[in-house]
């Protein structure tokens, strides 16, 4: 059974909040669900498939209770910030297989108002690998920083190369009225910001915000009668990388597997892609992801990102909403990658619109890049 091209995103909504001490995470889920369903021209009573993450081990049940949902198909795959991209791939398969007809994906978090230090909170001993790591003080940012250090060693990548990525994301955020930070920054500003975990500076790191969003997916047949033009799910793939038995090449990230597979499933090539939404937890995440996806050769990511190519007006605009580096990052950002891709493919991106965008690549990264992480690539296209 070929599932690609048979389902579509028909509703997308990003919660405008970036700081919501007056709200609960479930309220953000509920408001986002309402927004995405209204965008699709559907109601919550149409939903028979439900997908969420970031709500605790059996939090999906609590959230169904809160939303009074009685789904026939559920999935709370939790593989870090990429989870919501994974949910879309799983929803496409479930809809194509007839397990559900209208899938709702929701996300909500008040990480910023809870003062949760996502990247620098340290780790506790939970699962078996943790006992060999947590005693030495790893952090999320440190895990990505070790990949950056290795990339610099192998290829001569510089902090200035990484800084260019932060500068580009901030320029895009300037066009997004909801972005948390909109004032332009320079490479010098990034390099002058304090080091959080070498070689990553403060401005190499994503923001911490509150926020959420939701997506609605259904079959292409059902999509014909709905409010907005459908955005087709043309291909998708997942991958996991980890330290294994202790010989893993840190630069062999999950995107190297999921990217080519997703492109092949969609039957498209790199040159066909009009814009990319790539998880930007840190600047290094963007650089190694674009390399691993195959947009440039291993080691060329610094030069690739530094010459304007990934900015609006360049050959491959990336994160046209300002990304996690400047717009929002409530802890798990994958859903916003899909929402921004949908905006671009519908022509709803306003001043950040990529002219005549037909194909978008979304890639979510979840977990700790230098220890164990997931990568999910999805190709979206205009009908």
């Amino acid at each position: 059974m070929n599932i690609w091209g048979r389902t579509a995103v028909v509703g997308a909504w990003e919660h405008p909040t970036r700081f919501a001490p007056h709200m609960t995470p479930f309220q953000i889920h509920a408001e986002s669900a309402r927004g995405a369903l209204a965008d699709a021209g559907l109601t919550i009573r149409d939903v028979d498939g439900f997908f969420t993450s970031g709500v605790g081990p059996i939090g999906l049940l609590s959230l169904c209770h809160h939303l009074d949902l009685r789904p026939a198909h559920v999935d709370s795959t939790s593989i870090g910030g990429s989870s919501f991209v994974s949910h879309c791939v799983h929803a496409a398969a479930a809809i194509a297989a007839g397990l559900c007809q209208v899938a709702l994906v929701t996300y909500g978090s008040t990480a910023a108002s809870e003062r949760f230090a996502i990247g620098t909170a340290g780790t506790l001993v939970g699962e078996p690998p943790d006992q060999f790591e947590a005693p030495f003080g790893p952090t999320v940012v440190g895990s990505y920083a070790m990949v950056a250090q290795r990339h610099m060693h192998e290829y001569g990548t510089s902090s200035a190369h990484l800084a260019e990525i932060a500068v580009t994301m901030r320029r895009h955020a300037g066009l997004n009225p909801h972005a948390k930070y909109r004032e332009p920054i320079t490479v010098e500003d990034v390099l002058a910001s304090r080091v959080i975990s070498s070689p990553l500076h403060l401005l190499d790191c994503c923001v911490i915000s509150d926020g959420g969003g939701a997506l609605v997916l259904t079959s292409t047949e059902r999509a014909r009668d709905l409010a907005k033009p459908p955005v087709l799910i043309l291909g998708g793939a997942e991958a996991v990388r980890h330290l294994g038995v202790g010989r893993h090449d840190l630069l062999d990230i999950a995107a190297r597997q999921s990217g080519p597979l997703a492109l092949a499933r969609a039957g498209v090539r790199h040159d066909d892609i009009d814009c990319c939404m790539v998880y930007d937890s840190y600047t290094i995440t963007v650089l190694v992801t674009l390399e691993a996806l195959g947009f440039c050769k291993p080691g060329d990511g610094g030069a690739f990102c530094a010459d304007g190519r990934i900015g609006l007006g360049g050959a491959l605009p990336v994160n046209t909403d300002g990304g996690g580096l400047s717009s929002n990052h409530p802890g798990m950002r994958g859903i916003f990658l899909v929402i921004e891709a949908v905006r671009q493919l519908r022509g709803e991106a306003g001043p950040a619109q990529v002219a005549d965008a037909k194909l978008a690549l979304v890639h979510g990264t979840g977990g700790m890049l230098g220890q164990r992480h997931s990568g999910v690539t999805m190709i979206l296209g205009r009908a």
Binding site: A117, T120, A121, G122, T123, L124, V125, P128, P129, D130, Q131, F132, E133, A134, P135, F136, G137, P138, T139, V141, G142, A145, M146, V147, Q149, R150, H153, R194, V195, I196, S197, S198, P199, L200, L243, G244, V245, G246, R247, L250, G370, Q371
Partner: protein
């Protein structure tokens, strides 16, 4: 157990698959595992070989010598125990026998650490029966 000083950092949770590793460290010996069937060396220790699914395992004593594979100088960590010791060096060390492990580099200025730098193990006794393998310039 009465402690002579408060140790605030996370402690390893010794389990049935890792007990031999931690017991050896308490004797100031660093071990890794090798599969008796396919010969694959592995870190961290676990009961079943991920390469061939064999349970036939031998413990191999490491020389304690290695090189820095990658590292980061951590300037921010909210965890009690670590926040008092900033900045500290988190590193992956490649043992000369092959496997890599996550550790701390001690006995050198954070600014002097380089990838490829030769290092050797030092044993830090943090609690009765708990010793951590850390590394210093060799």
């Amino acid at each position: 157990m009465a402690e002579t000083r408060p140790y605030k950092k996370p402690l390893p949770r010794v389990d049935e698959e890792s007990r031999g590793y931690w017991e050896a460290l308490a004797r100031h010996e660093l071990y890794f595992q090798r599969c008796r069937d396919c010969g694959t060396a592995r870190f961290y220790p676990r009961a079943v070989c991920p390469s061939c699914s064999s349970s036939a395992t031998e413990w191999v004593r490491a020389s304690g010598r290695g090189t820095v594979y990658t590292f980061t100088v951590t300037h921010q960590n909210q965890t009690p125990g670590f926040r008092e010791e900033l900045p500290y060096v988190l590193a992956m060390v490649e043992l000369e026998e092959g496997p890599r492990l996550l550790t701390n580099l001690v006995g050198c200025a954070p600014g002097d650490v380089r990838i490829g730098m030769p290092v050797e193990v030092v044993f830090e006794d943090v609690m009765a029966e708990i010793t951590l393998p850390k590394f210093r310039p060799a």
